[in-house]
């Protein structure tokens, strides 16, 4: 029977899911023109959950017969997810109103998805991993198709759904094979077991990897990303780009370092290849994009490649903790810059999908200097340029990769960073060096989001120590 301690382990989760369910009902009572109340309630839920999550700092426990864990790793990621959730609501707040999407379900679905993401980090059993994966994905399918007025949104939703389900099929089959090989679905037990068939285990692990690679949009499982990112409402895209990616990586980390360190010999090669391919592919494909959403989509693909670098040495006990910490650090850096950038995209987006071409950014530097400066900061951060968090993150990342002995991967990393500079700079060029008459929507929460992100991106780059400590202490035990 479940013990109270079991619930303590998933306390924040529980709160959030209950809150979300309650909100679903409460929302029915909120009149249509006052849906902002729902937004605030959703945000409050996230905030409450965040406070409980932070209260869990420094503790660790397992629950439900080892199905879920709560440790520094999960706390770190949960907090990050919750912050992402808050940011997502902040950028969506005015946007959904402006685009005529203001419906209560938006926020509820968002909360459900965040719950799934949090569960992802806490999962200690493949069954829970699967559940979490679906819990985060299904609301996202709906959110992607949320703009019913626009066929692109439908299309994005359906594509995401079909391909997501397709990749889930691989995960499920992979889990089945792993179960067959080890007789258990518990991560810790998998490590402890003696597999009956190493081939089965390896293939199973590989299939699970494919599922996660799909979620984080690693090449060649990335092809849905640009379409979905472009078609989905921008506020959803921002959420997806950060949350889903973080969730994918947290599960990947959890599963692979807990269950499959023994497979590192094989998996390292595959991760290496995935990482390299993703960095190269994402950056090259981003070059010629003329739509800012698509460009950022490819950029998010590329960043998945960089973060994947941190996983490559996961089997090396000496380097793995540092590497994983660097991966977590980079996730934070990426999430912050990412939200800022999407926030600015939202600020420029007009209804009917106008204002999304990069050329629409012309003249921004002159007309909206602060906004342009913030965008510049995000672009520099995504390149990995001082004085931004992106540089510190990349520095950390490359360092751990080199410490793991993967010099060539690091070289690919820096070279692709160079390539990426070109397309990020194009945004800057357009903003500052082309003449134009851009128009920007200014909303408090939106401005707050990108402003805060920009500030954090710069300030944290000078004081990354605290984040370093957090990321390092979030290591898997």
């Amino acid at each position: 029977m479940p013990q109270p301690t079991d619930f303590q382990t998933i306390l924040p989760l529980t709160i959030l899911i209950v809150w979300a369910c309650a909100l679903l009902l409460v929302d029915l009572l909120i009149p249509k023109e006052r849906k902002w109340i729902t937004a605030f309630l959703a945000a409050a839920g996230l905030a409450v959950t965040l406070s409980f999550t932070i209260a869990q700092l420094g503790r660790s426990s397992t629950g439900f017969s080892g199905m879920v864990v709560q440790d520094g790793f999960s706390t770190f990621l949960n907090a990050l997810q919750l912050v992402c959730g808050l940011f997502s609501i902040a950028i969506a707040y005015g946007y959904v109103k402006r685009m005529g999407l203001e419906r209560g379900e938006y926020y509820t679905l968002l909360l459900f998805s965040v719950t799934g993401m949090m569960l992802m980090a806490q999962a200690a059993d493949l069954i829970v991993v699967f559940l979490a994966l679906e819990l985060l994905s299904i609301p996202l399918y709906v959110l992607a198709a949320f703009n019913r007025m626009q066929s692109a949104s439908d299309e994005a939703g359906l594509k995401y759904f079909l391909l997501g389900a397709f990749s889930t099929g691989f995960v499920v089959y992979g889990i089945a094979l792993v179960f067959g090989a080890t007789g258990t679905t518990n991560l810790a037990s998998i490590l402890a077991s003696t597999p009956t068939s190493s081939v089965l285990l390896t293939i199973g692990a590989a299939l699970i990897l494919v599922g996660f690679a799909f979620k984080v949009a690693a090449v060649p499982f990335h092809m849905w990303t640009p379409d979905v990112y472009q078609g989905a409402p921008t506020s959803v895209t921002g959420f997806m780009a950060a949350g889903a990616k973080i969730a994918g990586f947290s599960a990947l980390l959890r599963v692979f370092s807990t269950a499959f360190p023994a497979l590192a010999v094989d998996m390292t090669d595959i991760l290496w290849g995935l990482s390299a391919l993703t960095m190269i592919g994402g950056n090259l494909l981003a070059i010629s994009q003329s739509d800012i959403k698509r460009m950022l989509a490819y950029s998010s693909i590329a960043h998945a490649g960089y973060i994947l670098m941190a996983f490559v040495p996961y089997g090396n006990a000496d380097v793995a903790p540092v590497a994983i910490a660097s991966g977590l650090f980079y996730l934070v850096a990426y999430a912050v810059s990412n939200f800022g950038a999407w926030g600015i995209v939202i600020a420029l987006e007009k209804s009917e999908g106008k204002g999304l071409a990069i050329s629409d950014y012309a003249g921004l530097g002159r007309k909206y200097p602060v906004l342009a400066a913030a965008m510049t900061v995000f672009m520099l951060s995504l390149i990995g340029f001082p004085p931004t968090l992106g540089l510190v993150g990349k520095f950390y990342l490359f360092r751990s990769v080199m410490a793991g002995g993967f010099l060539w991967l690091a070289i690919i990393g820096v070279v692709t960073s160079l390539i990426s500079a070109y397309y990020y700079l194009r945004v800057v060029v357009t903003m500052y060096m082309h003449e134009g008459e851009p128009s920007v929507t200014s909303e408090f929460w939106l401005d707050f989001t990108w402003g805060l992100s920009a500030l954090a991106t710069v300030v944290l780059s000078f004081m990354p120590q605290a984040l370093f400590v957090m990321a390092s202490s979030a290591l898997l035990k």
Binding site: L158, L162, F170, W224, G273, S288
Partner: protein, 702 residues
């Protein structure tokens, strides 16, 4: 004794003022010149130069009071890096004070002359700013020349060495917006540039000599270098040979020797006082001074000495032949200068340092005299031309012919219109031709005597050159001053004012009496004894009647021959040179400077231009910038992005795969329809392919 030493060191502190006075002069003119009258500018500059002369005299007195001891005055450190230690140290010894006296003495006279001469420039060409500029440059030149001769190390010498090159550049290009005839043109500035660059080639040699010197002899300071040289010459003689030969490149540049003499004739584009001061009397003799100063190095390596002597002798003869074929009064003198410099270089090359220096001094007198007189002639013609323009029949001056006041073919009969100038010019000519008892006779004779004793080849070359010298000077005299005026301007020429002729008279006196400095008689080797303090081994030769006789005979013959050709039947207007017909091609060669300029142009200058254009346009820009960077690197980059733009990689490739694969697996499909592209499905295929590749890798991995 005590007293004189006190006095000598008492004057030594003035050494830096050799430089400071002219610098103060130029600063006054530079800063306040705008508000000063024309006269004041000129006199300030002259006074500055004169003050330097006074300092030179005092220093010379100090040196003699100290019995030739080398006096040094360190002003400040200059470059101290590691073992390298170069100071701003002024050196007064008999050699340097001799040079100081010549430079500041002749310099002052020319300053005064220029007050009058440049006034004409202002009058005719009406640009008052230029007047100030001229004296600023002239003072700068004196300052630089003083650094050159008073430096106690090779590097300080080099500062002056390049500095005078700069002044030469500035003054040759003084009328930078026209040619020698006053037409708008690049010609003068080209001449200036040519001078500077040619000099820089020489400086390149000097620098290399310096590097070698420092690393092999350990210093740049004269005495330390000489001290170290003896041992090195013993162990590694090539070092000294290399140093001296590199230095010879510098000498060739500065003193206009083969192969770098080509700039000097063009340098005549500058105002005449400049030609006299810089390009005859002082700057161009710096090379001679350098070799003399380095006598202790040259003495160690006879091979190098021989080369120096041969270069000098060859230059002397070569330039003299060219002088014969020139029509421009200053060009003749320019080639004559090159030729005389050849004499000096030959002399110092042979080790006859006193003879070289002696000739340097007398040449400064009479060549300055000649140039200034030529300037006076030119002014006279210009005045005549001006007179014509005002009174003559050139109505309105619409179609004014271009008149060259320096062309000897426009002259003739000036003896009558410009008598003072004529006599001064005569004195200069006789001195240059080496006619007894003018200064040139004594100095040239000493060189010839030395050559006859040790270097027969040099002796023969120089003797022939001496013959030519007398010949072309005779030709000049006959063409300019005798016969009938071949141009109206010459007929209306006016004598120059006293401010111009007065300095000339001083120089004329010096040209007559200058020989007394070092007469080849026992007890009269004044210069020799004076320089002996510095040069140590000085051979005091008695007069050799045979050598003197031959050279005098040659000179007289040459003058007579020139009379036969040019004097007996004076040239008429439009008549070609009488030598042209009998000498034919040879004369064409002489007239055209043996086509050396053209040769240099074809071999070096144009090639350099071609190469740099090629490098710039083709290699650097079209190939490296446009092709490699923009096409290959940026192009590849863009090509990749075009792929992405067309989604070849992202979609088409997958679709292409899909098509092929689809056909192969049609049997799987329940329908027989042709498998079409479907984006969602192609994305799924991409996932599938990824899975297949990963699984394949895992299963097939060795």
């Amino acid at each position: 004794m005590q007293l004189s030493e006190t006095i000598s060191t008492g004057f030594l502190f003035l050494a830096p003022w050799l430089v400071f006075f002219p610098v103060i002069g130029l600063l006054i003119n530079l800063i306040f010149g705008g508000r000063m009258s024309e006269k004041a500018i000129g006199w300030v500059a002259s006074a500055a130069s004169g003050a330097a002369f006074v300092v030179s005299v005092l220093l010379a007195y100090s040196v003699s009071a100290a019995h030739g001891e080398v006096l040094r005055w360190t002003l400040a450190p200059w470059m101290h890096v590691g073992d390298l230690a170069i100071d701003w140290t002024f050196r007064a010894d008999s050699l340097s004070t001799t040079m100081m006296l010549v430079v500041s003495g002749v310099g002052t006279l020319i300053h005064i002359y220029a007050i009058g001469y440049m006034h004409e420039d202002v009058r005719f060409k009406s640009d008052l700013g230029r007047y100030r500029r001229f004296f600023v440059f002239l003072n700068l030149f004196i300052a630089m020349m003083m650094i050159l001769v008073s430096g106690d190390s090779y590097m300080m010498l080099f500062v002056g060495w390049e500095g005078v090159g700069l002044c030469s550049f500035l003054l040759i290009g003084f009328w930078y917006d026209m040619d020698t005839l006053g037409r708008p043109s690049w010609a003068n500035s080209n001449a200036a540039k040519k001078a500077f660059i040619t000099n820089r080639i020489g400086d390149f040699g000097f620098l290399l000599a310096g590097f070698l010197m420092f690393w092999k002899l350990g210093s740049f300071q004269f005495d330390s270098v000489f001290e170290a040289a003896a041992e090195v010459a013993h162990n590694e003689p090539w070092v000294i040979v290399a140093i001296t030969l590199f230095m010879l490149i510098g000498v060739a540049g500065k003193s206009a020797q083969i192969p770098l003499y080509v700039w000097l004739p063009d340098a005549m584009a500058g105002p005449t006082p400049v030609s006299a001061l810089i390009h005859a009397a002082t700057m161009v003799t710096a090379g001679v001074y350098l070799v003399t100063r380095s006598s202790e190095l040259y003495t160690l390596v006879p091979q190098a000495q021989y080369i120096v002597a041969m270069v000098g002798a060859a230059t002397a003869l070569f330039a003299a032949t060219i002088a014969v074929g020139q029509y421009d009064i200053k060009k003749v003198l320019a080639y004559s200068t090159i030729s005389q410099l050849g004499f000096m270089v030959a002399a110092v090359g042979m080790g006859a340092y006193v003879a070289g220096m002696f000739h340097l001094v007398t040449h400064a007198f009479f060549k300055a005299l000649l140039f200034l007189s030529a300037g006076s002639v030119i002014l006279g013609l210009e005045r005549g031309h001006h007179h014509l323009a005002h009174h003559g029949g050139h109505g309105g001056g619409h179609h004014e012919e271009v008149f060259d006041p320096g062309d000897m073919r426009n002259m003739g009969g000036l003896r009558k219109t410009m008598p003072v100038t004529f006599w001064l010019y005569m004195i200069g000519t006789l001195a240059l031709a080496g006619i007894f008892p003018f200064a040139g006779f004594w100095s040239k004779d000493e060189i010839l005597l030395d050559a006859s004793l040790h270097y027969p080849t040099v002796y023969i070359l120089l003797s022939i050159a001496a013959f030519f010298t007398a010949f072309y000077m005779g030709r000049q005299i006959w063409m300019v001053f005798f016969g009938e005026a071949r141009h109206d301007a010459a007929a209306h020429a006016e004598e120059s004012k006293p401010i111009i002729t007065a300095p000339l008279m001083v120089l004329a006196a010096l040209s007559i009496l200058g020989g007394a400095l070092n007469l080849p008689f026992e007890g009269f080797h004044n210069l020799g004894h004076w320089l002996e303090y510095t040069l140590h081994e000085v051979e005091a030769l008695p007069l050799n009647l045979q050598v003197a006789g031959i050279s005098t005979a040659l000179a007289l013959t040459a003058i007579v021959v020139s009379w036969l050709i040019y004097g007996r039947k004076p040239l008429t207007k439009g008549q070609p040179d009488p030598l042209k017909k009998p000498l034919g091609l040879i004369f064409t060669g002489m007239e055209n400077k043996w086509f050396v300029d053209e040769g240099y142009w074809a071999v070096f200058v144009n090639r350099y231009v071609d190469i740099s254009r090629f490098l710039a346009d083709y290699v650097d820009w079209r190939f490296w910038h446009d092709f490699v960077h923009d096409k290959v690197i940026a192009g590849t980059y863009n090509w990749l992005s075009t792929i992405a733009l067309n989604d070849y990689a992202d979609q088409k490739v997958i679709n292409w795969f899909f098509d092929g694969w689809g056909r192969a697996t049609q049997w799987l499909s329940a329908t027989t329809r042709k498998v079409q592209n479907g984006f969602v499905r192609s994305y799924a295929l991409s996932i599938m392919l990824g899975v297949v590749v990963i699984l394949g890798y895992l299963l097939l991995k060795p």
